[in-house]
């Protein structure tokens, strides 16, 4: 132990005497470790962001969209083709508790843009016209007042999203106020709790109105743009999807699934797809960071070889006064390990700072981004960096240990 401490002191003294070179030597390791830390942190942040959005949406949700989901390309709606076959009668049929015992809620909806007028103020926003039981099917929570329900489904009522409420009413209570969309008067009956961004849509910049008014009076259509479904348990999602597809094919007279004019989507699937993508991205970036570490390691080996050559006389002297091959080897391994350990520490600090700055930026951009540094990633980074140092220090160290004392002392 005493010997080790003495050696460490010698090594540190030597490294300090060659500050500039030591700094350049560890640069590769610093970049590699900072890369690993940052990537793992950003990956964790992104995943928690996505998971947070799922919980906001509610679990066990399905969405039925008009038009066939085309595996070879985007759905028809993306080309501006309007499909009018999904109707409120379809939604009603899904409320059959006997046939669909696992469905807890069904909510047909249409959406559009709207200019909301209150006194002499107006605000451009989006509206979502929903059916009476969408409250449960969509996981919307109410901050004050009430949501659209069977008792007011045919009245001119409106629920404000948080952002819209703040824009028009500020801190004032909007309940009971009269607002207008396209000259149609609505009474404000509630304010939704803030939901933040879901898949990059601001869920607070919208208002909710009853389905009839949205369809007939504002949009002038009689079809639905989406039916949201809540299923009782995750285990029943797959079977419910099959049941829904069967029902809709019956109702739309479709015999061949190729001809489907609707698509049933599982939000969990979308999420797991996203997770798969971010995982793959993480793997790729980690690989890049690994390559940076490898390059850093080769840099270490290079510098260590130069150091061994430069210090040949010193090695000869050490052997002449009694250093064994093993202690010479250990000295150089210790030196490489110390260098990479320092590189690892600096890299960790840099990585944490970068991750923190990114999380600040993401929050500034309105994302619900968590700043996450996993202890595993730090242990991994330090471990890998020391290992790199020792591994790439091995060859130079053995080279130094093998030197013949007389040859080494004669070296010019």
């Amino acid at each position: 132990m005493q010997f080790f401490l003495n050696e460490l002191k010698t090594v540190l003294r030597g490294l300090r005497a060659r500050k500039g070179r030591s700094a350049l030597t560890i640069l590769g390791i610093v970049i590699g470790v900072a890369g690993v830390i940052t990537i793992i942190s950003l990956g964790a942040g992104a995943q928690s962001l996505i998971l947070g959005q799922i919980t906001k949406l509610g679990s066990n949700l399905l969405a039925i969209m008009p038009g066939k989901s085309n595996e070879d390309g985007p759905p028809a709606a993306a080309y501006g083709i309007t499909i009018t076959t999904l109707t409120r009668e379809d939604a009603e049929a899904l409320r059959d508790q006997i046939r669909f015992p696992h469905i807890m809620g069904v909510s047909g909806s249409v959406t559009g843009t709207a200019t909301l007028l209150w006194r002499n103020l107006n605000v451009d926003t989006f509206f979502e016209a929903v059916e009476a039981d969408s409250f449960s099917a969509r996981n919307i929570e109410i901050a004050s007042g009430e949501f659209i329900n069977p008792t007011n489904i045919n009245a001119n009522v409106l629920v404000l999203g948080q952002d819209v409420k703040e824009l028009l009413f500020g801190e004032n209570d909007p309940i009971g106020e009269l607002v207008k969309i396209k000259n149609i008067p609505f009474t404000v009956i509630g304010v939704a709790k803030p939901r933040g961004n879901v898949f990059f849509n601001n869920e607070d910049d919208k208002v909710y109105i009853p389905i009839n008014i949205g369809q007939k009076q504002i949009l002038g259509i009689n079809y639905l743009q989406m039916i949201g479904i809540k299923v009782d348990a995750a285990a029943n999602l797959e079977s419910t999807i099959t049941d829904i597809e069967q029902l809709l094919r019956e109702r739309h007279n479709i015999t061949n699934p190729e001809d489907d004019d609707f698509a049933v989507m599982n939000l969990a699937d979308a999420v797991s797809l996203l997770t798969t993508i971010t995982d793959a991205l993480k793997m790729f970036l980690t690989l890049m960071a690994g390559i940076a570490l490898l390059v850093g390691g080769i840099g270490i080996m290079n510098i260590m070889l130069v150091t061994v050559a430069e210090r040949t006389r010193e090695i000869g002297l050490r052997k002449a006064v009694g250093a064994t091959n093993r202690s010479v080897r250990n000295q150089f391994l210790l030196e490489a390990g110390t260098l990479t350990f320092l590189g690892g520490i600096i890299g960790i600090i840099a990585g944490v700072v970068i991750s923190y700055l990114v999380s600040l930026g993401a929050r500034y951009a309105g994302l619900d981004w968590d700043f996450i540094i996993s202890p595993i990633s730090i242990i991994l980074a330090v471990g890998v960096s020391i290992l790199t140092g020792v591994l790439f220090g091995l060859y130079p160290a053995f080279k130094a240990a093998k030197l013949d004392p007389i040859e080494a002392l004669r070296y010019e």
Partner: protein, 237 residues
């Protein structure tokens, strides 16, 4: 007998051509002797010193050190002997750069795993009269002082024998004389010293003189008219 060489031979092989450097050397050195080795350049003096100091191995022959046959010792055993029982002083000092006098003298103790490293190093530095230079860096002291630091380093592990290969070769006569004074003082205290030199004047500080030529011992005589070096480097006959 401290050192006993029996038929020591050393050959270097370059491109399969064997160059003999030492030929059948037989030599004994008693404890407490002060031996000088002289000879022309290339005669094999340094090679002989390196073999006796366990820095090099002979091609053939047997080497008994303190009664032990060291011929088949492993590298680690030789490192241990170099560390504990042998001190070496080189013509070109061989001090660590960017390092203090004290840390240079400590160097052998680092490999001894012993205690009181600091005290032993300070004692050795005081013995060569450099107590006031202990915290100087090696580039801040004169050549003569460097060689005295090297002697302190050779001394610090209280070795059985000190080898000095042309210790005054890079010094002017005054600082050379100071170095010889220290070696004579160490000898007076009972240390065994083996010195290689080119100059008869320097050799005459010893008690016994060996002349070697072409790798063979030509002459082995006691020195009758011994020189005594003063602490300030002046030499009296």
């Amino acid at each position: 007998m401290l050192i006993k060489l029996e038929n020591i031979t050393k050959e270097y092989h370059n491109d399969d051509i064997a160059t003999p450097v030492l030929k059948n050397i037989n030599l004994s050195v008693r404890e407490g002797e002060f031996l000088a080795i002289m000879g022309p350049s290339g005669s094999g003096k340094s090679t002989l010193m390196h073999i006796m100091g366990f820095l090099d191995r002979p091609t053939a022959g047997e080497y008994f050190f303190e009664g032990e046959n060291t011929t088949n010792f492993t590298d680690d055993e030789l490192a241990r002997i170099r560390n504990e029982r042998v001190g070496f002083v080189f013509q070109s000092f061989n001090l660590l750069p960017r390092t203090t006098v004290l840390n240079n003298v400590k160097l052998p103790l680092v490999y001894t795993h012993g205690k009181n490293i600091h005290g032993l190093a300070e004692k050795a530095i005081a013995a060569v009269g450099l107590g006031h230079r202990a915290d100087y860096f090696t580039n801040q002291i004169s050549g003569g002082e460097k060689q005295r630091v090297a002697i302190a380093r050779a001394l610090v592990n209280t070795p059985s024998v000190i080898f000095a290969d042309e210790p005054t070769g890079n010094l002017d006569s005054k600082s050379g004389g100071a170095v010889m004074h220290i070696l004579q003082e160490l000898h007076r205290q009972g240390h065994t010293i083996i010195l290689v030199t080119h100059e008869m004047d320097t050799a005459e500080h010893a008690e016994r003189l060996i002349k070697i030529k072409d790798g063979m011992i030509m002459d082995d005589q006691p020195i009758t008219a011994r020189r005594i070096a003063e602490p300030d480097g002046a030499i009296n006959k």
